[in-house]
Amino acid sequence: MIEFGPVHTVLKKEVSDNIRNKWIILLTIIFAFLTLAASVLAGGGSLGGLEETVTTLMSISMILIPLISIMLGYSTISGEDEDGSLAVLLSYPIKRGEVFIGKFLGLGIVIALATAVGFGVSGIVIGLSKSATPWGSYAAFISLSVLLGLLYLSVSMCFSALFKRRVASLGAGILLFFWSTIYGTVLMGIYFATGGSMSDFTSANPTIPDWIWQSIYFSPMDMNQTASMLVFNIERAFGFAIEVPSFVDLASIIGAHLVWIIVPLIIAYLAFERRDI
């Protein structure tokens, strides 16, 4: 059904086209620069607190990785349809499913490269300045970041397949970017409205209700951040003590990531197959 040859051809083209994309290059440079600055600043020269470094790295990647993914993904179908390059591509002996998978994998590789460059620099700095670097955790952290990138890529490609116009899929991409922010705000709104208070989070012994923990699966950034904290055994973030309850474990968070990746891909494929170019 799906043949590897055409998939591979599209994949290669996506990689060589997008690693020349000046916006992606710019974001990757900013990414590398910020993580470098973060790792130097957090240690005050000595790089003592890895937790501090990682929480800063996390907030950098939470902005830049979704941004890179959405920029790569939002116009793959709608944009190429509008400008006419998709009509050329689909007039070749290649099936739509093959085009779609090739694009997803190719763009996924570009995201993985950007993440590797972005974190690689700070990784080397940390590695050189600390005697006992937790390489395993750091690698797991980078993998989680790539997973987050694939998640945002999948959802933004889904928008590009669902919408006719490029601006519509861009709008949806922007909404997706702010989704975790919106989601968190709404969630807190509900929490405070139902009798919760800020001190529940800031007290020495925080009492975050279970339903808030359970709902992190709807917010990619929150669940990804939680996974990173589990990986590094971080118990404090931004001055708050946070204890992740035992029912939120790494396996279920990774499972949730995969659902977030696979479901939009299936929806996108079905929409793409029916699309009039």
Binding site: K13, N18, N21, D83, G84, A87, P93, I277
Partner: protein
């Protein structure tokens, strides 16, 4: 106001059967492209409305119609880019769908609106497309040379002008030396020099045995190149024949234009009943009568007899362009 003179039917010429040779007879049985009862609706717009046409092996087929007639929609449906609302399309006798992409190995397609990947050079672009079509990329340089893009083969396509992108489009259509070309407005938006390159290329490819379909809204382009034309208007085929036969069928007649003081848009009684008069039209003080040359005098005499003051008159020779405009205006074209 205007008396209709064209019937809403597709002409199937009988004359051609006299000329049929053995291979052509074979071809007539198995057209390269067959469109049968195609409908395509976009919401309420009937972009294509019960269109039936066929393209024979080895011919240059002109797909002619005003803007918005449904040419691109039909072509995109043939390429399985667009899904038909109903109807069947066969290419080389295979019904097309998004699953039958293997057919595309033998088709060179130029979309109406074309673009390539901005960050790749033409060489990288064509190499990528060669790989997709299973063609050896050694041909890339030659293809670029063929369309006059040899000098810019290392520049990013993102820096190209619209015309250069169009030429790259022509180059990519030739990848794999297909036996069928489907070109949507191949000369649209090109300046005279480039139009010539494309026109010569179409002739050359056809001489080497390829079947070519191209769409246009400009009659002269089609007239110059085509063996047969299909004229489409409002989503339906209104004529399909050779250029010569079309002229015959349209019974192109010279027209007589008479300026009459105080006519005021009314066709005088009985004028269209005169023998040899095909139709009569009045607009302001101008009366236009299509008629045989021999009936002109009778028309003028009849006007005199009705006591009308003939200020001026002239005769107009018919062109195929007139016929085309007439044909599509009778069917309410958007042009």
């Amino acid at each position: 106001m205007r008396t209709k003179r064209c019937e809403n039917e597709v002409w199937k010429s009988n004359k051609e059967s006299d000329l049929v040779t053995a291979p052509a007879a074979l071809n007539a049985e198995a057209p390269v492209i067959e469109v049968m009862g195609l409908h395509k609706n976009y919401d309420k717009v009937k972009a294509v409305n019960d269109l039936t046409m066929s393209v024979r092996k080895g011919e240059i087929y002109g797909f002619l119609g005003p803007n918005g007639a449904g040419k691109s929609t039909t072509i995109k449906t043939i390429m399985a880019l667009t899904h038909p609302t109903s109807g069947v399309i066969k290419v080389h006798n295979t019904p097309v769908s998004t699953k039958t992409v293997d057919i595309h190995k033998d088709i060179g397609y130029l979309p109406e609106k074309i673009s390539f990947y901005r960050n790749l050079t033409p060489v990288q672009t064509l190499t990528f497309l060669c790989e997709l079509k299973g063609a050896d990329p050694v041909v890339v340089d030659q293809l670029l040379e063929d369309v006059g893009l040899g000098d810019v083969s290392d520049r990013k396509v993102g820096t190209f002008s619209k015309g250069m992108v169009q030429l790259l489009g022509v180059a990519q259509a030739m990848i794999g030396d297909p036996s069928l070309y489907i070109l949507d407005e191949p000369m649209g938006g090109l300046d005279a020099r480039w139009v010539r390159i494309v026109r010569d290329k179409i002739r050359e490819l056809n001489e080497r045995g390829a079947t070519i379909v191209f769409s246009s809204h400009i009659l002269s382009e089609v007239q110059m190149l085509c063996d047969r034309v299909g004229i489409i208007n409002k989503g339906a085929l209104v004529a399909e024949d050779t250029i010569d036969n079309l002229s015959d069928h349209l019974e192109l007649r010279p027209r007589l234009e008479v300026t009459i003081t105080g006519l005021d848009g009314a066709v005088p009684d009985g004028i269209d009943a005169i023998e040899g008069v095909w139709n009569a039209d009045a607009e302001g003080d101008k009366l236009t009568v299509s008629c045989d040359a021999s009936s002109r005098i009778q028309v003028l005499v009849a006007l005199e007899r009705r006591g009308l003051t003939i200020k001026n008159f002239k005769t107009l020779d018919p062109t195929l362009e007139d016929a085309f405009v007439e044909l599509i205006s009778d069917h309410g074209g958007e042009q």
